[in-house]
């Protein structure tokens, strides 16, 4: 019987398989950051262990870093101590580190792909649940806890039980103005936050094949919000084109050998998935969340649902609690929801195409009075690229704040936070209670919806913008 893409990559990494034991899987790439690694390095020290493969390990600083005044000492002493701990650990063990201020610094899931380290058919892990992002390349990539970070540092392997596989087939064409973010939010609303639990998702079908690498990363990034540890997309010419010439992509004969292998990484026609979901791309429209988990979403044209309409008691209770926390009324049109803050950035939507999409809509327009808009590039390189295209000027002229790279308001670990009761439209991945700041209320949106919302002051799509642009040069 044929095998799925996930099964092929899995099988190629089995170091040891024995009856009654989880498979021991080899890890090709281990990404580290400041938040989930300190206790792992402590464990190594305590047991007198070394990092087994420094050449498969790389670290950067992202979760905790400020996005303003990055050339000055970090004001918060606890944040500063955590970054200093990472620097000390990397120096002591010999790990390559891109610290704040370095040109390769940025959100770890933006840095790996842009360096060409994330490649098809590799296994990629990081102490961060959004490691699923790297699955866009046909890599098997998943988030791990700190105990597993220590395990990979010491052994370059992980004992793991093989998950089941689920096909998510998206056929047809996404309508104009409908993005990868809308698609993944719709998928999560459909299968639920636990729907992917125990599965590796494979996104496939004509609508997926047409997506750019960056859009594919947006999709795979949010696999974890559907409960799946990993999401994958089969590599194709789009993938190879993206990788060619990147700093760590193979060259010459190695490139040819790699591409030959990468081309085998497709689900066989006679392979069987454990579960299948079919989505019609043509039926989708801009999608936003109204609740406090990423599965509580609806088309922007809809209204806030009535909790009483849920048959399942626990879903009904969750919806009631969500509306109370979010300060929303059942039946209220989603377009009538006013926001205080708009955040563009994160490992979900902080890449150059996302910034271009937002800037295209803001060019010649202004952010609405009373709305704060933050634009945070996913990496220092993305920031430099945006500046070279003049996007920073577009954002600043529109009244948005242009910041330095990092995770920023996605999780509110640094000073970029919502105040209690403040409401945001955010291109990030989680609308959990307090995620962006204590008492903050988050609506997850695409970069396009974020930009339109910033201009109009309420949740809106690009189609809602009238032709109100100031002509260039005026």
């Amino acid at each position: 019987m044929g095998r799925t893409l996930a099964e092929k990559v899995w099988d190629d990494h089995v170091v040891r398989r024995a009856e009654g034991e989880p498979d021991l899987l080899y890890i090709d790439l281990h990404l580290l950051h400041e938040v989930t690694s300190p206790q792992a390095f402590d464990g190594l020290r305590k047991n007198g262990r070394q990092v087994r493969r420094l050449d498969l390990t790389i670290a950067t600083e992202d979760h905790n870093t400020p996005t303003l005044d990055i050339d000055k000492p970090i004001a918060d002493p606890v944040s500063r101590a955590q970054l200093e701990t990472l620097r000390k650990n990397c120096a002591e063990f010999g790990v390559r580190l891109h610290p704040l201020g370095d040109v390769e610094q940025g959100v770890v899931h933006v840095v790996g792909p842009q360096l060409g380290l994330t490649q098809p058919g590799t296994t990629v892990v990081c102490g961060d649940s959004h490691t699923s992002t790297h699955g866009a390349f046909g890599a098997l990539a998943f988030g791990i806890g700190t105990s597993q970070v220590e395990h990979v540092l010491a052994t370059q392997t992980l004992p793991l039980a093989r998950p089941k596989t689920m096909a998510i087939t998206v056929d047809g064409e996404l309508p104009e103005g409908v993005t990868a973010k809308d698609l993944i939010l719709a998928i999560i609303a459909r299968i639920g936050t636990g729907g992917g639990q125990g599965y590796i998702l494979e996104y496939r079908g004509s609508a997926i094949e047409k997506l750019s690498m960056e859009a594919r990363m947006t999709i795979c990034n949010m696999s974890i919000e559907a409960g799946a540890r990993a999401g994958m997309i089969a590599p194709d010419e789009t993938t190879f084109e993206y990788l060619k010439g990147r700093p760590h992509a193979p060259e010459g004969a190695d490139w040819d050998a790699a591409v030959e292998y990468w081309k085998t990484l497709r689900t066989d026609e006679d392979a069987v998935f454990d579960a299948e979901v079919v989505i019609k791309a043509g039926e989708l429209s801009p999608f936003v969340t109204w609740g406090t988990n990423p599965g509580q979403g609806a088309p922007l044209s809809a209204s806030v649902p009535d909790p009483a309409s849920y048959e399942d008691a626990s879903e009904r209770l969750a919806a009631e609690k969500a509306l109370e926390y979010m300060g929303l009324e059942a039946g209220q049109p989603l377009r009538s929801i006013n926001v205080d803050t708009v955040f563009v950035g994160s490992c979900t939507n902080g890449r150059i195409e996302d910034l271009r999409a937002a800037a295209d809509l803001l060019r010649g327009r202004k952010v609405a009075d009373g709305v704060r808009m933050l634009v945070v590039p996913g990496s220092a390189r993305v920031g430099l690229q945006a500046v070279s295209e003049g996007l920073d000027v577009v954002f600043k002229e529109a009244g948005a704040e242009w910041r330095h790279a990092g995770c920023s308001m996605c999780l509110g670990m640094n000073p970029d936070q919502l105040a209690p009761g403040e409401r945001s439209a955010s291109t990030s991945n989680r609308n959990f209670e307090g995620r962006q700041g204590k008492g903050g209320r988050t609506h997850l949106v695409s970069p396009q919806v974020a930009a339109a919302t910033a201009v109009l002051g309420h949740l809106a799509s690009p189609a809602d913008l009238t032709d109100d642009r100031t002509p260039a040069g005026v």
Partner: protein, 197 residues
Amino acid sequence: MEAFTTHTGRAVPLRRSNVDTDQIIPAHWLKKVTRDGFEDGLFEAWRKDPEFVLNRPERTGATVLVAGPDFGTGSSREHAVWALQNYGFKAVISSRFADIFRGNSLKNGLLTVVLDQKVVDALWELTEQDPTAEVTVDLEAREVRAQGIVASFELDENSRWRLLNGLDDISITLRNEPDIAAYEAGRPGYKPRTLQA
């Protein structure tokens, strides 16, 4: 890791679904670089409400958390497991756990037990009516017992063996060093490297 064989204690009924790891331990606590001292951050936002179940005096000293479905969703932060343990919890019962949280819990000796929602409902009713009711989580017998309730649960044999013996994963893996070295010798040359050879 501390071994887990059997535990008996009073319970905290947490009637909420989709309790994500941002609720269990908010991000600002993640700046700490130790594995301890997270107890005050556990469910920090909800604990501001004096009526929150964890704040009720009759729940003081409870060690078994009985939660709604999809407990531990979201971030991979192991700090969520440490916060529950630092607070004093020995076991968490739910009808469904998020994968990464479950993996993290079992690596730290916090037993996560999956039971049918009907049993979770029965445990909620029992422990709400009688806060002194004790719940036993028996890993040897793979059984949860409380007044009028006996429910068996599944846990793969390998995880159970490691928990019962409090074994450290890394030392088990290092016994397979020859397998790892052999695999490494056969890795293709085109695989990515973070350092130049």
